[in-house]
Amino acid sequence: MSTTNGPVAQTIGLTKVFKDFWGRNRVVALDDLHLEVRPGEVFGFLGPNGSGKTTTIKILLGLLYPTRGRAFVFGRLPTDVAVKARIGYLPEESYLYRFLDARETLDYYGRLFQQPRGERQRRTEMLLEMVGLSAVARRRVGQYSKGMARRIGLAQALINDPDLLLLDEPTTGMDPIGTRQIKDLIRELARRGKTIVLCSHLLADVEDVCDRVGILYGGKRRALGDIKALLARQELTQITAERLRPDTIERIKELVENLEGKEVLGVTTPTDRLEEFFLRIVQEARQQRLTTSGAEAGGPMAEFLRADGLQTGQQLVDSLVAAAKSEPGADQPTGTQSPADQPPDRRTIEQLVQSGSQTQQQHHDEPADDDQAGPKSKQVDRSVIDSLIQPKLQRDDE
């Protein structure tokens, strides 16, 4: 979507010094920082507290002015108002108007983008649905929990379908479902060619979604590069297969020793990550229709944020697994489901598609549990689709 071929965000020798009351230099927040965020990448911005991440973002937004050096966004100065039409920003805390409700909040920001009323309303409803706040949209934002405020903060950052999304600690205060949803969202937006800058202390999250990372310390850049290159352990090879018998494993060890003269370092059964486990438990609870007064699990991604046209492969899979996306027992009459939506077909596809072991293992353990597996889809199926369409992201999910 970016119209420039150059970097989306760029800092050249960026230095920021905070002064004390008497105008004396006190804190060097950024020190000669050179950084480039390329179009379409997910850039992870890491560093301990006070390393200058947020300061960099605030300079890119024109909230702070550099002491020395320069910052550019889409090739223009951050103070250029027009540039901001293409930026979405989620600050480290959700700074919202406490007296507005969720819908009014989104409407207000939509107005600042001069969106026509119909479009504004459409996007507002979609985003509320997406972040799971439709049911509490009439409640004042001041009464929201931190996580709910975070969700509405995320929604406002997306109202203009931004080309550059600046996310400052997006998952703080979020429950694991929300966290997972944000990661899925980041992937989806990246797929559409959007550029995302993600500041986070949660290294696992960054590792999951980022293409490149920059690590700051004391306002200086300590590392920068492709995440896979940075993390790859070239000296090891991992084989993943369906469950094997012990004697088969012994034969593989022998084979490796005979052919390569090398030792097999370990054979283990992969475990569910806690995130996956948690998501499954919550989905089960939702299926039993337990009520909650808080945020509900997020709905489908807002249509205007989804890749249309580009993703024919995904649309195919979407239609095939649609049954898994709709909640069982919802008002949807079963008669409307096409034969292709029937659970057996979906399972077949998943088996074909799945390269990771977890989901598949689950099906082996609970083969008759189709209805149980259904609602899990909102979060998990997304990764299924991801792996089908973008094999390069596969390992992020493992």
Binding site: F18, G62, L63, Y89, L112
Partner: protein, 481 residues
């Protein structure tokens, strides 16, 4: 524009949903509803209505001013403290649009609340009008002296400055002036100027007084009055006496109108024999046809007691003077109370609009409490700017009079700074319509226009421009460590 409107809407929502606006409305309702019950003025219906109008409108103006100060100071400062502004200005909205939006929101909120209060107060006046009056005179007084819009004309005077100059020249020729009256460079020295001013004041006082048993004629000019319309004009005066008459009752007469004038509509002048308490305002009501077609009205004051026709020995002898500000004037109806009331409200709105701009300016670079403090200071100075400027002029004209008083000597030292401050601070006091409205005097379109131009347009624009300049350069996420 739509971005400005978005910010304005948000500001209005904030104003309405913050308890501060609710408190204002509650206080106003209490005042409007309770005032007539508590205050009776001088016991007449006219007094009641006047008191009610003055206090309720005054309270509305003050309460709305306070509300405006709080809201406008909170507007930017609180958003900076709460950092909501980070999100707003990272959207495609220019800083000036944000500030103008804030100001517009407050201005609209002010207009809404003022309109509500205005309707409430008017309804209460309409209700009071129907309550019992003391007598016909009382009812007429309310109708013709309060619930109306009257223009005021002062008597024409000769050019006292020229006469004073002539007299100074005479004194100079007669060598009766002290040497110190002359400046070394020619012309008058400070002393000479003072003498000249004294002569001028004396001439003016002489003109406005009538010797014992004497007669004095005053001419009122440029009275725009529709000759086809029947109506009443009011001669309003307050007499000072040199010797107090028995029971403080001054017996005199007014002869009004000039039948000898071309096209005069009266065959003989109107005569009003009076028995007035001295040093109080009195009103003589006469038909409007006493005004000549050329817009002049001749008024003759007779300092005689007509009960003793020609028998001067029986009469009390005192000279009578109307030399105070507004001690002698003619008032005539030129418009309706309703229109006058509306113009008064608009004038108050002009003040509020300016105050909102000052608040936004203050909060563009100060924290909420400091901005509030600054605004309150500006507001208090602005509403008393007339008095303060008078005081400063006095101090400038006569510095020697204040010698020995340390505080006043300090004031003299600080005079340049004070003068600059007063010059910068908007002169809201010059645009306070309430007294005139309550007195049934015209709050003219021209006056309202000047208020709208100076307060609402020029000074508001200057304040907002300064706010935008400051705010544009400001680092919104700045932290002082």
């Amino acid at each position: 524009m739509s971005r400005i409107v978005a910010v304005a809407r948000n500001m209005i929502a904030e104003g309405i949903r913050m308890k501060i606006a609710v408190i204002f409305i509650v206080m106003l309702v209490v005042i409007v509803a309770a005032l007539p019950a508590i205050m009776h003025g001088d016991g007449t219906l006219r007094g009641r209505v006047q008191t009610f109008l003055a206090y309720s409108l005054g309270a509305t103006a003050v309460l709305l001013s306070l509300l405006t100060v709080f809201l406008s100071c909170a507007s930017v400062a609180a958003e900076l403290a709460g950092r909501q502004i980070f999100l707003t200005v990272s959207k495609p909205i220019a800083r000036w649009q944000y500030l103008v939006g804030k100001w517009l929101g407050i201005a609209i909120l002010d207009a809404l609340l003022l309109a509500g209060a205005g309707v409430g107060i008017y309804a209460m006046v309409a209700y009071l009008k129907t309550t019992a009056w003391l007598n016909e005179q009382d009812r007429d007084a309310l109708r013709y002296e309060v619930l109306t819009a009257r223009a005021s004309v002062r008597p024409s005077t000769p050019d006292f400055a020229a006469r004073a100059d002539a007299q100074m020249e005479r004194l100079k020729e007669q060598d009766r002036l002290p040497q110190s009256a002359f400046a070394p460079t020619g012309g008058w020295s400070q002393v000479g100027q003072t003498i000249r001013q004294r002569i001028r004041d004396d001439l003016s006082k002489q003109w406005m007084s009538c010797p014992p048993l004497g007669v004095r004629e005053y001419r009122f000019e440029n009275m725009h009055f529709d000759p086809n319309e029947a109506g009443l004009i009011h001669l309003r005066y307050k007499a000072q006496v040199s010797r107090y008459p028995p029971d403080d009752i001054l017996r005199c007469a007014w002869v009004i109108g000039d039948p000898t004038k071309d096209g005069a509509r009266i065959s003989r002048p109107y005569l009003s024999e009076r028995a007035d308490v001295v040093r109080q305002y009195h009103i003589v009501r006469i038909p409007a046809d006493a005004i000549a077609p050329d817009g002049t009205l001749l008024v003759r004051f007779e300092n005689v007691d007509r009960r003793y026709s020609g028998d001067f020995d029986k009469m009390h002898r005192t000279s009578v003077s109307f030399s105070g500000q507004g001690d002698l004037e003619v008032l005539y109806e030129v418009g309706s109370f309703e229109a006058n009331y509306l113009r008064s409200l608009l004038m108050i709105l002009a003040q509020l609009v300016l105050l909102a701009a000052v608040g936004v300016l203050a909060s563009s670079f100060l924290s909420f409490p400091v901005a509030c403090l600054m605004c309150m200071m500006v507001y208090l100075t602005a509403i008393s700017s007339g008095f303060l400027q008078e005081a400063i002029r006095e101090l400038a004209a006569n510095p020697s009079a204040f010698e020995g008083d340390l505080a006043l000597r300090l004031a003299v030292l600080l005079k340049p700074a004070t003068t600059v401050f007063l010059w910068v601070v908007p002169q809201i006091s010059a645009y306070n319509p309430i007294n005139d409205l309550v007195d049934g005097r015209l709050v003219s379109w021209a006056w309202l226009g000047r208020a709208a131009l100076w307060l609402g347009a020029v000074q508001t624009t200057v304040a907002m421009a300064a706010a935008c300049l400051i705010f544009r350069r400001r680092e919104l996420a700045q932290v002082i460590v």
